[in-house]
Symmetry: C2
Amino acid sequence: MSTPARRGPYVCGIDAAMDVVSGKWKSLILWDLDQHGTRRFAELRRGLPGVSEKMLIQHLREMEADGLVHREVYREVPPKVEYSLTEHGVSLNAALAPLGRWGTERIRRIGAEKVVPPSWTGGRPAADRDASDRPAVTLRGAGSPG
Amino acid sequence: MSTPARRGPYVCGIDAAMDVVSGKWKSLILWDLDQHGTRRFAELRRGLPGVSEKMLIQHLREMEADGLVHREVYREVPPKVEYSLTEHGVSLNAALAPLGRWGTERIRRIGAEKVVPPSWTGGRPAADRDASDRPAVTLRGAGSPG
DNA sequence: TCGGGTACTTACCTTCTAGTAAGTGCCGCG
DNA sequence: CGCGGCACTTACTAGAAGGTAAGTACCCGA
């Protein structure tokens, strides 16, 4: 049965949003999917160094149940499954942008390490992504969620 | 020692921000403090129905260590301690606003219950807060964090 | 003197979250 | 024929997060 978000009762919007984003890899999955548009299981796994297959599937399933990601199965051999963001996923990613910017600023403030595992972005040094980070990308597509 | 946020290494801004917000009551504490400006321990406890004293203190201590809340002790009897948001806390709250709006919309979409424990806002029905929720309040004070 | 309020602290226990490691069925490549 | 890749599934386990309940030290009003 796992736990695809409690679906309420919620105390406020943050509560509901957190319910859907909490999970060690979810915001990263959101990001990766947003960056690449569509990804196969193994691509996601390689794109999120450190994630276990169990957690990756579990999170993907929950996010699918929560209407954030779309799962397209191609019945061929070897098996092929493509994951992509739904428009809710895209808008959630956009809603996370300010939080990402706040976090990036915090990293600077406290002088914390920003560690990006190898192959995370193709080997570019962290400094390149420091300012832009993850927020900007999708903003065009979901500027005013309403 | 507890765990006042790992302080990195972080993989991205979201990671760092989540590190600081994760905790069942933290976003609610942030909100309550933002609404009231300054609150005593017992006031916070009454304002967050369901929170235990242990969790409330633990979260307040972590948030203090993370530079989000300020703790002012008045050496008098009976003891008096006042909690308030630092400017980082205020800006974090502002950064959470879009997420709160997204969550509020999601609650509407999935038709989830929005349960506000009695005395949460002084007894007003949930509908009153539905649209405004928590986002708007602080936005004036921290519109463009950077 | 008793109960209640102030602000915590402590010990213990349960539940949740994530990690490890192995197995499944199917195929192509060498 | 065995290895590796695909997309999973399953069982077991460790650790973190959170809940319960009690205790601390002081004072005030009834």
